[in-house]
Symmetry: C2
Subunit: 653 residues, 2 copies
């Protein structure tokens, strides 16, 4: 029994339910979720997309529910595709009612109820194909991972509709898990090979306030990587008669190489790692566990200062979709799974509630506008699982060591974790914008939206408008009944060197604490805060230990990382060297890629007419001047197969 103490968090996020986004950049994406992604993915789950890899997801549930005969097909974690899609629909419904989809979801929930076994067990793969093998391979078999996604979907649907049916499924399932796993007599002291249920249990705890959920989460996290004296994964391997996972992965892949409190570097599968860290910081928060917070800080420090791409992509190795070693960030073989960027958003979001430091939000924003958003096409129908920072289709399509890099977006994936993950991110985007506590309103992201807070028993309404990320202007209009003293803490992004605050047209000085400008005063109805972030084109360089980026720069403007594409610049982007001391021309092009601000730059390139047909030469081939154009990274690969690069050679002075 845990004694509950004060929480660590300095603020709590404002729920997506309470944030109405109305933003020229994000509206089209939100429209896509509702009009395109939700129906498209529903078709995918039902195997109705011609030419795409089949999903079998719904069919698996129908078989498990006894409505159909047959075998389970797909991944051992196929159920989670449905759950992530459900979570997306739930977020969508929480913002705007929709009878059609609510009805479909209720039918799906009935199907899930039927697929759940008498004792609470729920997993179509094991129920159908291997009923005798339940809970025998926690390391590889994703039963707890799927349970975690079901919990997240259930919480979201409950919050959206107040309906309890799916919460009851979840309650029965978790109670069943608690009988099987734990440190009691006859229980298995196991924990998931793919973390996810930890953060889900913390969500369930927040809704229900039931201690048993926090206890189970704590058990999973604290048990991880321990030797008692034998490692649990060794013990279950010995107990299994069947063959082990033939990949022979080491336990760092699962973040189970050490007890979590002894982990200091981001290791293994990047999504697993960042889901785990999210659960750890949730737990630390509720238990006021400063030691665990320090572990999370250390892991954060290693992740963002040693192992993260400029797009906030993480996981630089396709093999095991994993972190490797410090500064190993190849651009052409970046794995940088879309899901991993999303998981980094989740982790950052949790960290900032506790630390109130813009470094976390900076990474969140970097991942949101770059490494995550790049995973979906502008029409919502094409996806990237892998998000490299440099693609030369000529080699990406032929080299075996680039087998995971796709030079065009895919319709769907056999392992389809990313499409529904980005869908639920977009559908729940509102939750990342604001936080609040008793006396402060935090603005993390600059996304046009209306929200409300209660401070001193009074409802404060805020209407944020801006042209972000294309311009640095942000405006907040406050409405409240009676003048009230509180602080509006506005994040100054790490990329911004100059910012101006005006309240009702008058410049206002504001103390800046860890990157948040605190506008504190007695606010009254109709007050207007205007912020102007200076948003020039920035030339970014890598730490010199990142060998692949030596001599290269990236262009960034506001939160957006830019790239060059062959469509704008011709082939052989590595031949181009840009001048870095120039005034870059940034201009909004409404007809390009659904409207983007492009950057034009003076550059040099080899004079192709002077190149001879030989591989090596002592001659110096002359160069010619060239104007190049860069587009936001997220918008690449929307004009067919072509070369792309984020890192551009610079003309050294």
């Amino acid at each position: 029994m845990i004694e509950m103490k004060q929480r660590l968090a300095k603020m709590d996020p404002v729920s997506h339910k309470n944030v109405k986004i109305n933003d020229s950049f994000w509206n089209p994406w939100k429209g896509l979720v509702k009009e395109s992604i939700i129906p498209y993915q529903w078709d995918a789950l039902n195997d109705r997309i011609p030419g795409a890899d089949p999903s079998h997801t719904i069919e698996n549930f129908e078989i498990a529910a006894g409505r159909k005969e047959g075998k389970h097909y797909g991944m051992v974690f196929q159920d989670s595709d449905l759950y992530k899609w459900m979570e997306t629909v739930a977020y969508s419904l929480s913002i705007e009612k929709d009878e059609k989809w609510e009805k479909i979801l209720d039918e799906v929930i009935e199907l899930i109820q039927e697929a759940q076994e008498e004792d609470g067990y729920l997993n179509t793969y094991f129920s159908v194909n291997r009923p005798d093998k339940k809970w025998t391979n926690l390391k590889d078999d994703h039963e707890l991972y799927c349970a975690g996604h079901l919990i997240e979907a259930a919480v979201a649907y409950y919050e959206a509709t107040g309906k309890m049916a799916i919460m009851e499924v979840v309650s029965k399932l978790v109670d069943h898990i608690r009988t099987v796993l734990g440190d009691g007599e006859g229980q298995k002291r196991g924990y998931p090979g793919h973390p996810e249920i930890e953060l889900a249990l913390m969500k369930l705890y927040k809704i229900t306030k039931e201690q048993k959920y926090i206890d189970l989460c704590q058990f999973f996290i604290e048990e991880r990587g321990k030797r008692n004296p034998v490692h649990y994964y060794d013990r279950e391997l010995e107990e299994r008669s069947g063959p082990d996972n033939p990949s022979g992965r080491t336990y760092d892949y699962y973040q189970a190489h050490l007890p979590v409190r002894e982990q200091a570097t981001a290791e293994g599968h990047a999504v697993r790692a960042t889901y785990l860290y999210s659960g750890m910081i949730d737990l630390a928060n509720e238990l006021n566990d400063h030691e665990m917070l320090e572990v999370c800080r250390t892991l954060w420090e290693n992740t963002v200062n040693k192992r993260m791409y400029i797009t906030a992509g993480i996981g630089s190795s396709a093999y095991e979709e994993r972190f490797t070693v410090d500064y190993d960030l190849p651009n052409d073989r970046a794995y940088t799974e879309t899901c991993a960027a999303i998981a980094l958003i989740m982790w950052s979001h949790r960290m900032v509630q506790i630390e109130a430091d813009h470094q976390y939000t900076d990474v969140l924003e970097r991942a949101l506008y770059n490494g995550a958003l790049s995973g979906i096409s502008l029409d919502g129908k094409g996806y990237f699982y892998v998000n490299p920072l440099e693609v030369w289709p000529h080699t990406a399509n032929c080299r075996h060591d680039m087998g995971t890099v796709k030079s065009t977006r895919q319709q769907w994936f056999g392992c389809a974790c990313c499409p529904p993950n980005i869908a639920r991110l977009l559908a729940s985007l509102g939750q990342y914008i604001y936080s609040a506590n008793n006396s402060e309103i935090y603005v993390h992201l600059f996304i046009g939206s209306k929200t409300s807070f209660v401070i001193d028993n009074q409802e404060i309404n805020i209407n944020q408008t801006s042209h972000y990320p294309w311009l640095g202007d942000v405006k907040f209009e406050l409405s409240l009944d009676k003048p009230t003293e509180f602080s509006v803490a506005i994040r100054i992004p790490g990329w911004c060197n100059k910012v101006k605050f005006q309240v009702n047209g008058q410049e206002m000085e504001a103390p800046v604490v860890k990157g948040y400008a605190k506008l504190e005063k007695e606010w009254k109805n109709g007050d207007v805060v205007e912020v102007l972030f200076d948003m020039p084109v920035e030339v970014v360089r890598s730490h010199p230990e990142v060998r692949v980026n030596a001599g290269k720069v990236a262009l960034q403007r506001g939160p957006l990382v830019y790239c060059m594409e062959e469509a704008d610049n011709g082939a052989n982007l590595q031949d181009i060297r840009i001048f870095t001391n120039q005034i870059f021309q940034a201009a909004f092009e409404p007809d390009l890629l659904k409207g983007v601000t492009t950057i034009k730059a003076k550059a040099l390139a080899t004079d192709k007419t002077k190149v001879k047909n030989q591989l090596y030469t002592t001659e110096v081939v002359p160069v010619v001047e060239k104007e190049v154009k860069a587009i936001p990274y997220y918008a690449w690969s929307n004009r067919g197969e072509n070369e792309m690069t984020v890192w551009i050679r610079e003309v050294e002075k």
Copy 2:
């Protein structure tokens, strides 16, 4: 029956038997062959190297011969390791008698005789493990490949000793092959998945003048890749009951995707390709086949102008050890197998006899002094199978997509094709230096040596001395009984822009034909030719389509490609930028790496004291001046594990 015509060749190589090398650069290597490599590899073949992967080679023969019980272990081509070693010993014996090794070789030959089956079949893997599967999978099973290496060894031993025993084994084996394979009734119209026997049969033909060998070679080459109407590899797959090679390789891997006369690009496994091309040009030569010569020229053009590293390494993909696409030459994942560089030497050597063009010898020399020699350590006991042009041990040791790159040299390999291959190259080095015809003596390589020719029934002796590759001075002293008119054609290496010829102290003009300076006069006893090749440090750049080398240069001096090592320059070699418009300091360092000329250069590097602990920054970190040192590429990795790079960033002006 083929009608024999005039051969294509303009000259013939002077046999290694007739070239006595005495050269300060090569003597230590030749010493290594005799004193270290031959005994070491003999121990390896007998499994007497502690800690090294076992070979089982001799044991396999003992089992096949019935001297021992047991199973064959190792690769399906394990026999060839012995044959290549035998070839090495034979070359060594041909230069200098050695009773001990001749006795051992005779005993080995007895063992081989015993392992040969009654009908002539010889392959320990099939004889022992799968006697019912002989000749059922020519695509993958290397029976003809092993036969080829046996033939090469036999020819070398016959030439060295005049002994016939092993020639009889070969004759029996080839006669057996001729009963099984061919276009006659009841024969299989098959050809080897791994070319090698083609060039070996041509060697056998040259010794024996027996038409049947050239006929068999021609059959193998002309049948390759044909559809009659079915591709042979499809036909044999259908006939086999067992499973196919699970790799599912496409036929370009085997250079069997098209009839050879229709092939225009270097495809597939690089060693297979270049062995095949060597056999093709041998055949073209004997049959005066201009069309086949043109095919070889086209393949050459594609290889050296599109798919070859600056070290003359070929095969840029570890997967399938193969060529990929034009300009795909990654430095850190270069496969560039030692054997492939050796095979390129073999092919170049054959081409130049026909074309008399220094472009072939330039590549031969580039491969010899760089991509091949890098495969063996200075003490002859460590090997590289894979010869990358850039190594960062930090990632090479952890990234799965660099799994084949080794950051230190290995003692031996499970697939041990390279060590004996480099041994036979070094032991037969003499054959590459000179060629001759009735009126011309060609000097291809500048290696101190004595040799003799017969022109006009008169023996001409030449004594070449030089300090090559460290200095560009070469001297030839001629001795002959009576004044004779002939031409001494001396290669002007492609890297050399200024050369001076003196005959008996007087400058002499010489017409240059395809890079060979033809010194034609009536030569008399005691004539001395002195050549001075200008040998400055050259700054080499890649074709701009080689994206990975953009902004980088390589240093070359004479035939040697240079690299920087961490041992001399500290870590993070990619951070270093050299000035390319400087006077480079080249100096011989007798105590470094058994004596090498190093290059010192002024460079810039990041001021490490000013680097902050963050991955991305808009700040420009200051640079400091730095003197860097480059060493010959062949000598890298002789001082423990460390970083290395051939391509160096340049300070752009």
